[in-house]
């Protein structure tokens, strides 16, 4: 094969290789993959049946933690899990049916209000909705 043909084939194949190596990321980018939640307005916190009565789960609401509680009576409540005192993660204490911050014993009731301890403000409460099998938590505003 002469010079010219060689260069042309070389050019063509390297061009194809370059285009493929650039097109591959673009195609992967465009194709939808498993469900991605971009907005923090709504988050799937759990699935139905995941929580037993009088228990809780910490879930991710955007970039901050949230707490999802199923009360003894089976009602679902969700709050921001960031304690308003010194930002420790709160948890749910099933014996007292209150939300407790283990750092300095701040305690909140099931409306998010401060019952005792140093927290200066109530926990931000979220709206809980059930959509099919999923428990969706969303911001109030």
């Amino acid at each position: 094969m002469n010079r010219r043909n060689f260069v042309n084939i070389f050019l063509g194949s390297s061009l194809v290789g370059t285009i493929v190596s650039f097109l591959y990321p673009v195609v992967r980018y465009i194709l939808p993959s498993k469900r991605i939640e971009a907005s923090i307005k709504k988050v799937t916190a759990a699935r139905l049946g995941e929580l037993a009565p009088n228990s809780y789960k910490i879930f991710k609401f955007g970039t901050t933690p949230g707490i999802l509680i199923q009360t003894k009576e089976g009602e679902l409540k969700a709050f921001s899990a960031v304690c308003t005192h010194l930002t420790c993660n709160v948890l749910y204490e099933s014996e007292t049916e209150t939300i407790l911050c283990p750092c300095h014993n701040g305690r909140f009731d099931l409306s998010g209000n401060v019952i005792s301890g140093p927290p200066p403000a109530p926990l931000e409460s979220y709206i809980v909705e059930i959509s099919g099998e999923e428990i969706i938590v969303s911001r109030k505003t």
Binding site: R3, V7, L15, I58, N89, P102, G117, P118
Partner: protein, 420 residues
């Protein structure tokens, strides 16, 4: 008939407003106490100036309500009538203030939520007892609340607002010369200012942090007894206290008369507790009582090891994430998960007060699950970093091939042009 009506209406129009106006003028007339004292200047004017901000003034009270006298009289001798009491002596001040503040039916009119037992409490306090014995150096109401510019305790400039209290108590208690003769130390303020509570109050502006009166009481102020210190700490640290009470330390400390929390954490100079306090190392508190061969010594050493291992795992998980982050991969999701491990670490540190190794181990296992997840995410992130670099090499390789091909093509064409 018409004329009489005219006259009576004239009277009405002139007299009634005059009466009302003069009543208003009398009402609006400055208090003669304040008017005179202002004119006198210097020390005697101070009460009148300071009273402008006083909380009593807000409720419509004034000089005569405490000191007696007649503020309507301009002449000083007439003003200082039979009801005039003047300034009380130091030892009389508690009863002077209590004449209103201990009268619940009186106080109810102004602020029903205010307590009325301050005098009773005061008489049980260290200060109150000294005053009864005739020692006028001891603090009375005005030393802490001020005299004429008294602000409510909720006002940030009040001497009794939380972040003003340490210095206020320190005015006497940190003054070595003043406290000569009393057999109590004078370094409490200095020690408190180094403590984690002072840091929380002054640096973080956390008004829930304890100051002198939170542990000592305010009106009934007295140093807490050995057995009661622990109750005081439990006001804010109840879970720690509970765990301690369940531990074998409780009965032993009570028998030995050791004051629970204070023994390891101190009273005024309470530092944020460090992990070095646990175990058998140099700074550990356990070895202050326990000998090297004893079972408690072994337990101490086991607890420290559990904690250290857990911390090490958390740190190495964090390092992994930071490594991946340094390589450009976003790790905000696993970093978020790591917060849970931190919360569990705080709970484990709390649990050490119980000396309950099975409980500690259980918590640590929970933490280890979290850390495992984080580590998996970290490894995945590192893999992603490698994937990106590989991708870059591959695409760059093709680009270079293409560049060489282009260059060759250009040379070929230029040769062709030259040949033409």
């Amino acid at each position: 008939m018409k004329q009489r009506h005219k006259k009576s209406s004239l009277v009405f129009i002139l007299v009634v407003p005059a009466v009302i106006l003069s009543a208003l003028t009398v009402y609006a007339q400055t208090n003669s106490c304040i008017a005179c004292h202002r004119e006198m200047g210097d020390e005697l004017a101070m009460p009148a100036e300071a009273f402008k901000l006083d909380v009593h003034q807000e409720f419509g009270l004034s000089c005569s309500d405490c000191h007696g006298g007649n503020p309507a009289e301009e002449d000083v001798d007439l003003a200082k009538d039979g009801t005039f009491e003047g300034a009380p002596l130091r030892e009389q001040i508690p009863e002077f203030c209590a004449s209103c503040h201990s009268d619940s039916s009186y106080m109810r009119r102004y602020n029903p939520s205010l307590r009325v037992d301050q005098l009773d409490l005061y008489l049980t306090s260290g200060h109150g007892k000294l005053i009864k014995e005739g020692d006028t150096k001891a603090a009375v109401c005005t030393d802490c609340h001020g005299t004429h510019g008294i602000l409510a305790s909720s006002h940030p400039k009040s001497w009794t607002f939380p972040w003003n209290i340490p210095d206020m108590c320190g005015r006497c208690h940190a003054d070595k010369d003043f406290m000569k003769g009393y057999r109590i130390p004078t370094n409490q303020l200095e020690e408190y200012e180094q403590s984690v509570h002072a840091y929380a109050l002054f640096e973080k502006k956390d008004l829930s942090a304890p100051v002198c009166n939170d542990c000592h009481g305010n009106h009934g102020a007295a140093p807490p007894e050995v057995t009661s210190i622990a109750f005081v700490c439990r006001q804010c640290h109840p879970s720690t206290g509970e765990l301690f009470s369940k531990s074998p330390h409780k009965t032993v400390y009570d028998e030995l008369g050791i004051s629970e929390c204070e023994a390891c954490h101190g009273n005024h100079k309470i530092f944020p507790p460090s992990d070095d306090m646990l175990g058998t190392g140099e700074k550990a508190v356990c070895i202050e009582c326990h000998d090297p061969d004893s079972k408690p010594y072994q337990i101490a050493s086991r607890i420290k090891k559990l904690l250290d291992d857990f911390i090490q795992q958390t740190d190495s998980a964090r390092d992994l994430l930071e490594q991946a982050s340094g390589k450009g991969v976003d790790v905000s999701n696993p970093m978020f998960k790591l917060r849970e491990a931190n919360t569990l670490l705080i709970m484990v540190r709390n649990l050490t007060h119980s000396l309950d190794i099975p409980a500690i181990e259980e918590k640590i296992q929970e933490g280890e699950k979290v850390i495992l997840e984080v580590q998996e995410a970290g490894q995945a992130a590192l893999k992603e970093a490698t994937f990106r670099r590989r991708g870059l090499i591959i695409s760059t390789f093709f680009v270079f091939l293409l560049a060489i091909a282009l260059y060759l093509k250009i040379r070929l064409i230029e040769k062709k042009n030259q040949a033409k």
